[in-house]
Subunit: 130 residues, 2 copies
C-alpha cells in the first residue's frame, strides 16, 4: 500500500507519513490467515499439522506461506526437532504476544459489533436506490 511519505496536510493527515511503513507492517497481520495463525499459536508451541487442523479452512500452501511470512517478520519462531517423524513447532515471539493482546481487542470489537454490521449490510442492500 503505500500511502507514501510525501506531504501531509494537517487535518487527517500526518497519517500518511507514518502510515506508509505502518500499513506495511499491518498488512502482514491483516492477511486473511495471519491473525488466525497467531491466535492458534497463542496457546503455546503448535505443530504444523495442528495448525492445519486448527485454522481449518486454510490450505497447506497458504499455511506454509503465512508461516514463513510471520516467521520472517519475527512474529513466530520455527523450531525443528530432528526426530524421526519430523516435528516442527511454531511459537509466538514476545513481540507477537503483545500483538495478540491488541488483536484480542480487535476481535472483541468485531464480536460486539457483528450484529450491527450484519444489520447495516442488510439495510444497505435493502435500499440500494431508495
Amino acid at each position: 500500500m503505500s500511502r507514501s511519505h510525501t506531504d501531509v496536510p494537517d487535518g487527517a493527515a500526518e497519517f500518511a507519513d507514518e502510515a506508509c511503513p505502518i500499513t506495511e507492517v499491518l498488512d502482514h497481520v491483516a492477511g486473511k490467515w495471519s491473525i488466525g495463525i497467531l491466535v492458534a499459536a497463542a496457546h503455546g508451541p503448535i505443530r504444523f499439522t495442528e495448525l492445519e487442523r486448527t485454522v481449518k479452512g486454510i490450505s497447506r500452501r497458504m499455511l506454509t506461506l503465512n508461516l514463513r511470512k510471520l516467521e520472517r517478520d519475527g512474529l513466530l519462531t520455527r523450531t525443528v526437532h530432528p526426530t524421526v517423524p519430523p516435528k516442527v513447532e511454531y511459537a509466538l515471539t514476545p513481540m507477537a504476544r503483545e500483538l495478540h493482546a491488541t488483536l484480542g481487542e480487535l476481535v472483541g470489537w468485531a464480536e460486539r459489533h457483528r450484529p450491527a454490521i450484519t444489520a447495516a449490510r442488510a439495510a444497505y442492500d435493502a435500499k440500494p436506490a431508495a
Copy 2:
C-alpha cells in the same frame, strides 16, 4: 481472531468454527485500504478528493470500492450535499470510532515494533540457508 463468544478451551482449538464470522468482519477492516481510510476520516468529515489525497497511493477506483464497503458495513456515513459542485462527505459512525481507538493500539504496536520487524526480516533474508 478467534475465540469468539465462548472462551478458549485449552488447546488452540474450536477456533475455526467460531472464527469464521469474526474473520469475515475483520477482513473488512483488514483490507489494504480500509484502515487508511478509517484513520483519514477519524479527524472529522472528509471529502472524496480529500481522501484521495490523504490516503495517497490509492486509486480512485479502490477508494470508491472501499468507501462503499465501509459504508455498507455501517462504519462510514456518506453525506451528499446537493450543491453545484458536488460535495460528498464521509464520516465515521460511532461504531467505527470505537474501532479507531483499537486501531490506534494496533498502529502503536506497529510503530513500536517496526524496527524489530525490519531487523527480523533482514536477519531472515540474510541467512536463508544458514
